[in-house]
């Protein structure tokens, strides 16, 4: 391994892993293409609602990348990354709500006969935001909501800190495999149950809404705003992809793959396994948080149902269908499944009339999706990404000596030999 690795390291990163360049090129082309076809800046073939869907899909691809890094490369099947995604959304949502409401309140108080006191402004904002859940006071967690930089920081810090603490607790007590999955699922459930309570201070089941209206930019049409977010999402996905590719291509990447394949052996070799896992777990949580912060202003609303355990399971399924252990697989999986899902549940898919029974896709799509996981797991463990191998006619990785970068994919040995 070492010879090849050293030989490769002399080449520039981009050349060693052409898939990164290909991916970035496709992403750039896609972004430019969508912009040209959009309503906001182009000829208006693609509707604003579809731009939003595409922008959201890019964010989902980003969180799928994070999931692939933590599961496909490091072997931690986390069922908690959508919780981090949601936390990022909540963090940015708090500022969006606060700032938009502040403008409204200041405007309405400006008409009053006495200049408003700070208490009046604060009460006014609180009443507007929390009136819907029958409260008129700011909970302590809103202390930084007035400041965009602080909430931006929260997008990174809150999911990162939660992942750090949770990961530290879990990894140090050597909770691994399915136990860890169940534990992360429990964390997600606890978090969503907590947020479901009105007392959580984040408006309970209602969550934060109206996030698509950017404060102070009421005059900018949504057609434009949606494109801004689309660009930002594309940029974040591009950067995220490069970052992930860089991580998995180096020595760090080799170690985390080794942890996935045989944790005990890596520990005996003297690597601090827990530290490596913790870094990956936290880093991916941060990426998920950023993806969430971009996603929810496009969705317009965030509420606890978004971080229910099932969302995280779906995330794992996207990565599995796309092909885990290869970064573009995660992106393909997330984009493919979420877009197909939108198409089927949107009622556009034609119903199939069997004569005695009409298959309506709205009813049967979930069944099809469920069964397709089973088939993918059983018959195509490489997922859709495996098709790329067929096209390029490349063999599955030869684990003995070959590079294990993002291009070659990285499956468990016994799977690859099948």
């Amino acid at each position: 391994m070492s010879d090849v690795a050293i030989g490769q390291r002399r080449q520039p990163f981009a050349l060693r892993f052409p898939s990164v360049m290909i991916f970035l090129a496709i992403l750039a082309l896609f972004t430019v293409g969508v912009t040209i076809l959009s309503e906001g800046f182009g000829i208006g073939v693609i509707s604003t609602s579809f731009i939003k869907t595409l922008g959201k899909t890019l964010c989902l691809c980003l969180v799928a990348l994070a999931m692939d890094l933590v599961w496909g490369y490091c072997g931690i099947l986390s069922l908690g990354h959508m919780a981090f995604f949601g936390l990022g959304g909540y963090a940015i949502g708090m500022w969006l709500m606060y700032a938009r409401t502040e403008i409204i309140v200041l405007e309405s108080l400006a008409a009053a006969e006495l200049p408003p006191t700070p208490e009046e402004v604060s009460n006014g904002i609180a009443t507007q935001i929390f009136g819907v859940v029958g409260s008129s006071e700011f909970p302590p967690i809103w202390a930084f909501a007035h400041s965009l930089p602080l909430q931006f920081a929260a997008v990174v810090i809150v999911p990162g800190l939660l992942a750090l603490v949770f990961g530290w607790l879990a990894f140090r007590s050597r909770v691994t495999g399915v136990y860890l999955s169940i534990l992360t699922q429990a964390m997600t459930l606890a978090l969503s149950l907590h947020l479901f309570q009105n007392d959580s201070g984040l408006r309970g089941n209602n969550g934060l809404s109206g996030l698509q209206n950017l404060p102070g930019l009421d005059d900018v049409p949504q057609a434009t705003v949606s494109l801004w977010f689309f660009w930002a999402s594309a940029l974040a996905l591009g950067l995220g992809y490069v970052l992930c590719a860089w991580i998995v291509s180096g020595k760090f990447g080799s170690v985390i793959r080794a942890i996935r394949d045989d944790e005990a052996r890596v520990r005996f070799l003297g690597y601090p396994v827990e530290a490596f896992k913790l870094v990956i777990f936290t880093l991916t949580a941060v990426i998920a948080g950023i993806a969430g912060a971009l996603y929810y202003p496009q969705a317009g609303i965030i509420n606890p149902a978004e971080i229910a355990p099932i969302a995280s399971i779906y995330l794992a399924v996207w990565v599995a269908i796309g092909g885990r252990g290869r970064l573009y697989g995660a992106v393909i999986g997330a984009a493919f499944v979420s877009l197909v899902s939108t198409w089927f549940t949107g009622g556009q898919a034609p119903d199939i009339n069997l004569g005695f029974y009409t298959i309506s896709w709205v009813d049967w799509w979930t069944v099809l999706l469920g069964l397709s996981f089973v088939c993918v797991t059983l018959y195509a463990p490489k997922g859709i990404g495996g098709l790329i191998d067929l096209i390029t006619d490349r063999k599955s990785p030869n684990r003995h000596g070959a590079s294990l970068g993002p291009d070659q994919g990285s499956l468990r040995e016994q799977e690859a030999e099948k």
Partner: protein
């Protein structure tokens, strides 16, 4: 009267009147005089009408009240005359005359309005009927009278009740009457001594009715004075700012008693300032500077100095006033001696109440634990013994419940249908489990994480299929009549029979599991295969078959659990997902691979959840959140669960 007959003849096509109604009978005339009130049918205004009937002294009045209470009184839309009636069929009434109880005719119901006294009015009627019913020959009627007294006691009931005591033949009813007599004495007894005696007779009684009789005696009014009066009826002394009396409330009390100057709300202050704006200034202060509370306070004080507004109390004055007064409770519910007796009796009761509440909570926790155990026991087999993560476990529970529902569609007898449903649910889910094991899981034994995903796929597919077949609406699964109601130990401790049945079922399953695993050849082979499949295979055991059967067994038990859970809660396509995470946690917390661990895990989870609910009774959701957090932490410190397998078994 002829006119009425003619009206009837004209409008009735169904039957001819047998006899005419006596419109001038005294009872009918009495009813007519109260007609407006009776038809308006509101508890606020109905009192005089009921009193008029009850005090009329007419024997028919009892019939009227009785029929009215049971919604059998109707009024003729045309004539306004009241009758009572029974419904012959949907559109036809057989009407009777109140005057002599004679049948008048069978008529279509279009010409009549049914009087529907609401529950409040029915209660008042019941109260009025008590005097007639206490000595009624029919024991059911007497019981009804006692019910009415319990729901709405009146002072007059005491005498009536006492009068009826010597004539009571039925021992049970007599005991109930005596108890009620003592309760009424507490409230309405003529002398204090009599009341105290009645109070003391209830030493340690747990009945809600006793506390309901005693608590009103302890009613207090908070008062303030410069010095504590020496009256006998003074209760606690309250400190302003304490939990019992907030600082604001205490001061409001002083203001109300004209002992202090009023304070002013921020809102009122703002309005006062606005009202006094002149040339962009308030009392010489620029309006634009009034953008903080301090500035507004100053402006207001300046206004007060000018005399334009009344001065208000400052914080210092408030403190000073509060410290100059004592605040205390004065008993207003009863004379002091009675209050102290009631207090003593309540104190004695309260300790017992607390103990019994603990006991009741434990029963609830036990019941919840048995439900969790029931939901998790199938998983204890598939996950615990075989190490297979089956996310579709919840859907097997759902399949069992729907099997029960379908059986009830075909077998209307609830007892029989449950007896059929249980084995059938086992058979259905056993089959589903075996099919799933053969088709999917056996290919994934060496890839546990993939099993999780594949079974999750099956889970959402099964859920959606159930939705497509049975719809999204919850389906009824009704328990047989003998499981209705609850076992009442006293007014505090009770548990429904259905929960007891689930508890028993959980115990049965535990026994079944232990029997199968420890006493049968299948169990032996299962243990052999889980510990070392190759060695087991070389001994002539077919590991494939054993794994298939074990998985089927675990799934089948989930099916039966589904029937039980459906009986106690609901049958929906999503019921499985309510239990899946909790079930996994129960197994993991208890310790994988050990049924006693699962039992302990379920017990711990059940008791923990109820315990947290007890601390925070207004928010059940928080209890669930904290429970999960606790479990997460618990697993950090005991990753292998309460009962950790040691040695080779742990490696399997």
């Amino acid at each position: 009267m002829l006119r009425f007959v003619a009206t009837f003849l004209a409008c009735l096509t169904l039957a001819l009147p047998i006899s005419a109604q006596q419109a001038d009978a005294p009872i009918q005339q009495l009813l007519q005089s109260q007609s407006d009130l009776i038809i308006e049918s509101s508890r606020r205004t109905i009192g005089p009408a009921i009193d008029a009937l009850a005090n009329s002294g007419m024997p028919e009045a009892q019939v009227v009240l009785d029929k009215w209470q049971t919604r059998e009184m109707w009024v003729n839309k045309e004539t306004g005359l009241f009758v009572y009636a029974e419904e012959v069929d949907r559109d036809t009434l057989r009407i009777f005359d109140f005057a002599d109880g004679s049948e008048i005719a069978e008529v279509p119901d279009d010409g009549f309005d049914q009087l529907k006294p609401n529950s409040g009015i029915r209660g008042l009627i019941g109260t009025a009927l008590v005097q007639f019913q206490l000595s009624d020959p029919n024991p059911d009627t007497r019981q009804r009278a006692l019910d009415a007294i319990e729901r709405g006691a009146e002072e007059s009931h005491l005498a009536a009740l006492r009068a009826s005591l010597p004539k009571e033949p039925d021992a049970l009813i007599l005991a109930r009457k005596q108890r009620l007599e003592r309760l009424l004495t507490i409230a309405y007894g003529a002398t204090d001594a009599e009341r105290i005696e009645a109070i003391q007779s209830f030493g340690g009684d747990l009945g809600v009715d006793v506390r309901a009789a005693l608590n009103p005696l302890l009613a207090v009014r908070v008062e303030a004075a410069e010095a504590l009066p020496a009256d006998a009826d003074i209760g606690r002394v309250l400190e302003p700012g304490s939990a019992a009396l907030s600082r604001d409330d205490a001061y409001a009390l002083l203001v109300a008693a004209n002992l202090a100057k009023p304070r002013i709300s921020v809102e009122e202050q703002r309005n006062a300032l606005i009202a006094n704006i002149a040339d962009g200034q308030v009392a010489g202060i620029q309006v634009a500077t009034l953008n903080s509370q301090e500035a507004r306070d100053m402006a207001y004080a300046a206004l007060a100095e000018q005399g334009t507004v009344t001065a208000v109390a400052t914080e210092a004055e408030v403190d000073q006033r509060l410290s100059n007064h004592v605040f205390f409770e004065r008993y207003v519910g009863a004379p002091p001696e009675v209050v102290f007796a009631a207090q003593a009796a309540l104190n004695a009761i309260e300790n017992k109440v607390a103990i019994n509440q603990m006991f009741d909570l434990s029963l609830d926790a036990l019941s919840l634990a048995s439900i969790y155990f029931l939901a998790a026991i199938g998983l204890a087999i598939t996950f615990g013994v075989m190490g297979v993560i089956n996310m579709a476990h919840g859907e097997f529970i759902m399949m069992g419940a729907y099997t029960g529902y379908v059986v009830q569609l075909f077998i209307p007898d609830y007892t029989l249908s449950i007896l059929v449903a249980i084995p059938l649910a086992f058979a259905v889910t056993f089959g589903a489990g075996v099919a799933m094991e053969r088709l999917v899981i056996r290919w994934l034994y060496h890839r546990p994480l993939e099993t999780l995903l594949a079974t999750f796929g099956i889970s959402i597919a099964l859920q959606q299929i159930a939705k497509n077949i049975f719809g999204t609406q919850a389906r009824p699964l009704t328990a047989p009549g003998w499981l209705d109601g609850s076992l009442v130990i006293n007014d505090i401790v009770s548990i429904s029979y259905i929960r007891i049945a689930i508890f028993v079922l959980a115990l049965l399953f535990l026994a079944l599991f232990l029997f199968v695993m420890n006493r049968t050849r299948l169990g032996l082979e299962v243990r052999a295969v889980t510990q070392n499949p190759r060695m087991a295979a070389s001994m002539g055991i077919n590991p494939d078959k054993i794994k298939m059967l074990t998985f089927g067994f675990g799934s089948g038990i989930a099916g039966i659990a589904g029937v039980a859970i459906g009986l106690y809660a609901k049958v929906t396509s999503e019921m499985g997902s309510d239990y899946i995470v909790q079930s996994f946690m129960t197994v993991v917390v208890g310790g994988v691979g050990n049924i006693w661990g699962t039992l302990l895990g379920a017990t711990m989870v059940g008791f923990l959840q109820k315990g947290i609910e007890w601390f925070n009774p207004s928010n059940t959701l928080a209890a669930q959140t904290y429970m999960i957090l606790f479990i997460i932490l618990f697993i950090q410190f005991r990753p292998k669960g309460i009962i950790a397998l040691k040695g080779r078994a742990a490696e399997a």
